[in-house]
């Protein structure tokens, strides 16, 4: 029972290796390598499901009666080329990240992002502070004006009486 | 006659695969990059060629025979070129061969590598 399933085990092992590389390494290029390993494990999964005992390649010939399943071949054929195109896009993203941030370590990129985020929020805070300070100054001025007006009224009332 | 053909092709295939294995052992056991390239370049080309010749002898179809001839020609062309390119790239970028303490050869190698670096930089 178990021996019949060994191809799925290999697929799961490769998949887990790829997943581990993506999660546990900080270097962006290594993450991309992990993704490639993951992709290939999925291809092997489909192609091993397509194999039929005693079948041959799915090209019609006169003396062959049993063929392997051609449908997964079709899906994986396009998937391989699309995989390389998306890997190329990921690699170009990494190249640009290296140019902008100066490093491809996840920690350093994250800390640079946090720094710039802190700087931005600090600027916002200081602008808010300035607005608040101005507002309180205006309030103080207005209250002092009101107080002077009241004092003048009392004095005039006092003069009247 | 059939028997002779099958024996001949079996012999070619066997010698070819034996040479490929020898090339693999050479990669593992030789001490230096250049000696390894030499081992691989010679044995792999001849090994692949003999395997192809063995297949050509028992090929049933003229079309298969013609395709195998093309593959043999291309292998004979590409194999030595690849080892040449690798060795040249290593030499230009400064990898020096490991020599015995023989001062003549060391001076010659240093002169040659200096010339290569100058012509590539200027």
């Amino acid at each position: 029972m178990l021996i019949g399933h060994f191809n799925y085990w290999i697929v799961v092992v490769l998949m887990m290796i790829g997943l581990y590389i993506v999660i546990a390494h900080g270097n962006l290029i290594k993450k991309i390598v992990g993704l490639v390993i993951f992709q290939t494990s999925v291809f092997i999964f489909y192609i091993s499901m397509a194999k039929v005992d005693g079948g041959t390649a799915p090209i019609l010939a006169d003396d062959i009666s049993q063929y392997s399943n051609p449908l997964p071949h079709v899906l994986i054929l396009t998937a391989i080329v699309v995989g390389i195109a998306t890997t190329a896009l990921a690699l170009s993203l990494v190249v640009r990240i290296k140019e902008e941030y100066g490093s491809i370590e996840e920690q350093k990129i994250q800390s640079q992002d946090n720094l710039s985020q802190d700087k931005l929020s600090q600027e916002n805070l200081s602008q808010d502070n300035k607005i608040l300070v101005n507002q309180s100054q205006i309030n103080q001025y207005q209250t002092s004006q009101a107080q002077e007006n009241q004092i003048q009224e009392y004095q005039q009332d006092g003069k009247h009486r | 006659m059939d028997f002779v053909i099958i024996i001949a092709s079996g012999l070619c295939l066997f010698i070819g695969s034996f040479l490929c294995v020898v090339g693999g052992i050479g990669i593992l056991r030789f001490p230096d990059f250049y000696t390894r390239m030499h081992a691989v370049g010679v044995t792999e080309t001849l090994g692949a060629g003999l395997i192809l010749i063995g297949l050509m002898i028992i090929s049933s179809d003229l079309l298969v025979f013609a395709k195998l001839v093309m593959v043999l020609l291309l292998t004979l062309l590409i194999g030595p070129t690849t080892s040449h390119v690798l060795a040249k790239a290593a030499f230009v970028n400064g990898l020096a061969p490991k020599l015995n303490s023989n001062s003549h050869e060391k001076n010659d190698i240093e002169q040659l590598s200096n010339e290569e670096n100058d012509s590539s930089n200027s």
Partner: protein, 309 residues
Amino acid sequence: MLLGIYGLLSAIFFVAMDAVDVAFTEAAVGAGISSLLMLVAITMTGRNENTTRHKPISALFIVIITGGLLLYGTFDMPYFGAVEASINSHVVPRYINDSMQEIGIPNIVTSVLASYRAFDTFGEVVVIFTAGIGVLALLSVGRRPKDDDKIASINDSMSEQYLVVRIVTKMLIPFIMLFALYVQFHGDFGPGGGFQAGVIFAAAIILYAMLFGLSTANKVINQTFIELMAALGVLLYGCVGIVSLLNGGNFFDFNVLSNDPIAGQHLGIILIELGVGCTVASVMILIFFNFAGRKELQNNNSNKNEESC
């Protein structure tokens, strides 16, 4: 480097699984283009890595749990190579039995890819085209300054060093292109088709660009022309579908493209594979040219910084 070995091993595995088309593609793409792109990217981003300070125990834990769950999930799947597995019994017998009468080409994979499932292939081609546009958007260099004299002098001084390789390459490149054309048009009868042919053709052009310099390759094949060809491939593919709509059938229904349904299928398949080959080749060449051009830009900037300091 190991990616090349990995790709070749998977190609051998695919041959053992009777998947010859897939093995062809994996050998061309995985062992060729993939390791090349990795090398170029590593050239631009550095070879060293910070060692992690913490042991990733939690990642290992997650991976082991997920692996265990997946293994548990595979217990119900059919055995390896079972003839009566459910994936072999619904749509596939129709493809295998009726492909010769309905479409008339021996390679079942090509007939499924290009005729029965042409719409999926259209989507894949558009995805490849989009990836090419993405790389263009991220890495394109713009108008390169015309310093022809400097480049010509570099080429002359290098030509002695690379003499052997240049001559061998000049002999080889016509054969590679011829092989790409053979694979493209022979995809009906043996393993092959548009995807593999596009990758092999791109490999020939990339070989030329690597050995003779990017600017010489630009003079031979203009980057604008390649961008045009990429778009033309997708356009050709879509237009075949629209023409079949205009002739009264469904989208991508090739039976109506000509008087005889079988001839219509043949015509449709040839045109579609041509479109696929054009787009795949152009996108691969574009990706390589942009990576290499970016590297040249980085080199030029660092040289200028050194000169100014």
